[in-house]
Symmetry: C2
Subunit: 269 residues, 2 copies
Amino acid sequence: MSIDSLRITAGKHFQLKDFDPAAKPCTTGSKAGDKERVDALSIELDLLQDKLYAMRSKRLLIVLQGMDTSGKDGTVRGVFRAFDPLGVRAVSFKAPTANELARDYLWRVHLQVPAAGEIVIFNRSHYEDVLITRVHGWIDADECTRRYRQIRAFEEHLVENGTTLVKCFLHISKDEQKKRLEERLADPLKHWKFDPKDLEERQYWDAYAEAYEQAIAATATPEAPWYVTPADSKSHRNVAIADILLHTMTAMKLAYPDPLAGLADIKVT
Amino acid sequence: MSIDSLRITAGKHFQLKDFDPAAKPCTTGSKAGDKERVDALSIELDLLQDKLYAMRSKRLLIVLQGMDTSGKDGTVRGVFRAFDPLGVRAVSFKAPTANELARDYLWRVHLQVPAAGEIVIFNRSHYEDVLITRVHGWIDADECTRRYRQIRAFEEHLVENGTTLVKCFLHISKDEQKKRLEERLADPLKHWKFDPKDLEERQYWDAYAEAYEQAIAATATPEAPWYVTPADSKSHRNVAIADILLHTMTAMKLAYPDPLAGLADIKVT
């Protein structure tokens, strides 16, 4: 399967430069074909989610990370709309509130993990606590290493207790970000998406790339893999994420439960 | 200090039978003296808690565990009333709700950890997930070992992120439990405390003792120590817990912050 080349399950030899943001390993060959493919996958994903919801025992957590403009919101909109909102919840982590800062950094994250039968998408996540914090020197290298260990232990705990965990890094190039920021400035309908802070953070592009590389290398495990998803093309990105979801949910061995096999004998009078 | 003999920081040679539930290492020599001592300690503890609250950076979590009738409620009432309710919160963990069972067993526990400046008392805790569950065979030995590891990682994470953690096992004898259950049956004012289930659980006394011994041995660390607190005598138990708190909070190096040393120069007009 074409997503296999994107999956990182061990950090030892991981280098971000080995991954091309413009690659299209999952494409059907055309943009129109990719869109059709996402529509087709959506039908399969919807069915799988219905089974997950019916089983009420397993849980799925998807972490979306990526540079500004990498398409996290667009992925939620473009791929996760396939699912019934009853069983899906998107959680956006912004700058922590005073109430959140008063606890350890995993507190607000643990609070939002999926319940049995639920799919939760983290739009940003606890990884910000080893990314923006590291880039701006709010934490030092020792604290960052400690957090990698804490995050590995936390994710291991979630997985051992019945949560399937997939982490997707939406990988764009610096040029593509420039294009998208310019679009936001040029198009009045996209003005609301423009944040002057994005220009400031763009100055730290290389530091972010390094922080991502280190974080992915330190936290990629067979149980909590990262997918370095080429995201310069939005339509390809959506195919890739839908493929990753299909692969992940298929491996979850979802099936409708039948607690009362004799239910068919019951008469409604 | 007399509480040193009660502190377990490594499980290697820990055996519950080495600890006498009727011992009184912290006593002043008389019941009246012990009560006076708790009153005196309360004044010191109140001051320390005020500093903790003013600092708004450190956190204190006290886990209370013990067999039925071991005096967990009585300890909260007898010792923790020393503190200002503004900065103290007691959390009782009962049988998990459907909503709690839909997440991993540490979810509801993490949710309740202390905020900066806060003292939280867990009246029962995540340890129930390796005690009652183990005694009744709801989890097997492998799962229990996994949970010990998960609990160690979770507690290490809390401590590394600024929480001071103390775990107290209120250690009573089987005879003392008999006496206390009979009192609850005989005294109309204590009837409300009697739960027929306590008699059922009493049949598993030895299994509980073994589960406690294993859990304490598996999770005692220098950073998250257990105190095996003799609790056959209620007045001695209170002295011991107050001593443990004083020792713990003294080690936290609490002090009023002075962010504006020049504050005295400000004139209120």
